[in-house]
């Protein structure tokens, strides 16, 4: 199958990206090295091509009502130009996708979804749609870049007259002029650092990419998907297909904060209410390795020789210098301090359930 290229493909080649097949997209896993890129984002800033993400627009008189019915969080509470993290569920409480919602008005929402789920999501949104809505998959119309890290604002500020301080955490500006390019810009991201996500039309993408790198100089470098994953993991941000999935509910994944069960009806609410009121048998836990080895996604977790679940994500966390993971396990072993075994290459390696061991996010201060 021919891999899809983003409009920044030439930039990845120019900057020495090691290209890989990422869910059908030809994207850079790294440029100079995952660890170096990881530390750049934590200490200075990094530039990401995330154009593979999907964008879906919902417009119409009943848009607010429909988006509220479709998603788990409190859509009606959103103000104009606010952004909100949401879970889209199946009736059984399993997850279709996690996404962020941009509100233009009660008649106009912009949804940003996971790349690999875009077609599935669009189909799901169409199937459940209320009559009279206009729903469009605009994924090909936008390039998405992320500028993340403590110096992200300082760098972008050089390219605009608009005061970036006015964009608060999880808010957006529908028209931000960056080096003469009209962009949608939100203070959001997937790294645990302050930063922005920017949407613009494809023909200006390479130009703005270069402008941002030039403005940042030594303080910024392009970041590949490898560091994107270590950054999001270390900040304990969920990844669809690992922490959440069609068979893992948001409550099991400890995302209950984004699921408003005391609010209006939404798809999956009844099942999630039953799950909450009943006895949830599995729950996500943090753990730290005690023995030698790196936990990785889908490794089995055991207690006294019996399988009690699996690792959803695990890694060497570069900024913490620790081997840690997230696991979905039987609830009875979920107390902090509980010793468990992670099965690594047929060997049981000791680990300990913990709380609060992940990277403390630097977001939200603005």
């Amino acid at each position: 199958m021919l891999l899809k290229q983003t409009d920044l493909f030439a930039m990845h080649q120019k900057y020495g990206g090691k290209m890989v097949d990422f869910g059908g997209w030809d994207l850079p896993i790294q440029y100079e090295g995952i660890l170096k890129e990881h530390h750049m984002v934590r200490k200075k800033a990094g530039l990401f091509d995330v154009s593979h993400m999907g964008e879906i627009e919902i417009k119409g008189e009943k848009a607010e009502e429909y988006v509220q019915y479709l998603l788990s969080n409190n859509i009606k509470k959103m103000a104009q130009y606010q952004v909100q993290y949401n879970i889209m569920c199946y009736p059984d409480g399993g997850v279709v996708d996690d996404l962020i919602v941009y509100k233009y008005s009660p008649e106009h929402y912009f949804l940003v979804v996971n790349a690999a789920n875009t077609d599935k999501d669009y189909k799901w949104i169409m199937e459940n749609a209320f009559p009279g809505l206009e729903i469009k998959n605009l994924s090909d119309d936008y390039v998405q870049m992320a500028v993340q890290g403590p110096k992200a604002q300082e760098i972008l500020q050089k390219l605009t007259e608009d005061d970036l301080d006015s964009i608060k955490f999880f808010w957006f500006k529908p028209e931000l002029n960056l080096s003469g390019v009209n962009c949608i810009a939100s203070r959001t991201g997937y790294t645990g650092e302050d930063g922005f996500e920017i949407y613009l039309s494809p023909e200006k993408a390479a130009f703005l990419w270069e402008e941002i790198l030039q403005a940042g100089g030594e303080d910024i470098c392009p970041i590949g998907l490898g560091a994107r994953d270590t950054l999001r993991f270390e900040a304990k941000l969920p990844l669809y297909g690992q922490e959440i999935d069609k068979d893992i509910s948001p409550l099991e994944a400890k995302l209950g904060f984004f699921v408003k069960l005391d609010n209006d009806d939404f798809i999956g609410k009844e099942a999630l209410l039953a799950q909450k009121e009943g006895s949830m048998s599995r729950i996500q836990v943090e753990f730290e390795m005690l023995g030698k080895g790196i936990p990785r996604s889908h490794y089995d977790v055991e207690k006294n020789g019996n399988n009690i679940g699996w690792v959803t994500s695990g890694a060497y966390a570069p900024s913490l210098d620790k081997k840690i993971g997230l696991a979905l396990i039987n609830r009875q072993y979920s107390q902090a301090g509980e010793e468990i075994d992670v099965v690594i290459r047929n060997k049981r390696i000791k680990a300990r359930v913990a709380e609060g061991i992940f990277y403390k996010k630097k977001t939200g201060s603005k």
Partner: protein, 127 residues
């Protein structure tokens, strides 16, 4: 990419430096470059027996898990324990940091390995 002349190479990108009846072995520059940042090394078990081409160690980079295969059959005489604390040494100096010392029980096996020039063309085909 560095390929020292005085070593022999495997198709799995290990090197071996023969010293009389034993060999120092590790991974090549090509291997470390393709693995990316190495963050964990499961070193071989001391005194264990290995066949040629058998997995004796595991290297984990940030993105992948890979086995390391013994170039020859023999006994693991020494292991480089420093790699447990500092796995990044394999990225920094892949030829200075051996993984294990293996006894060479059957010198005939060395004929199966590639000299530097042959390994260099082999790498070119791989890229």
């Amino acid at each position: 990419m560095k390929i020292p002349k005085n070593l022999l190479y495997t198709r799995e990108h290990e090197w071996i430096r023969v010293e009389e009846d034993k060999g120092y072995m590790g991974i090549t520059d090509f291997a470390q470059d393709h693995l990316g940042d190495i963050v964990f090394v499961e070193i071989p078990e001391l005194d264990s027996e290995t066949g040629a081409g058998e997995a004796i160690a595991v290297i984990e980079s940030v993105k992948a898990v890979s086995s390391v295969y013994s170039p020859v059959s023999g006994t693991i005489l020494e292991v480089n324990e420093e790699l447990e604390e500092s796995p990044e040494l394999l990225n920094e100096e892949p030829y200075e940091n051996y993984i294990a010392v293996v006894s060479i029980d059957n010198a005939e096996e060395l004929k199966q390995l590639m000299p530097a020039d042959e390994y260099e063309s082999f790498c070119k085909e791989q890229d």
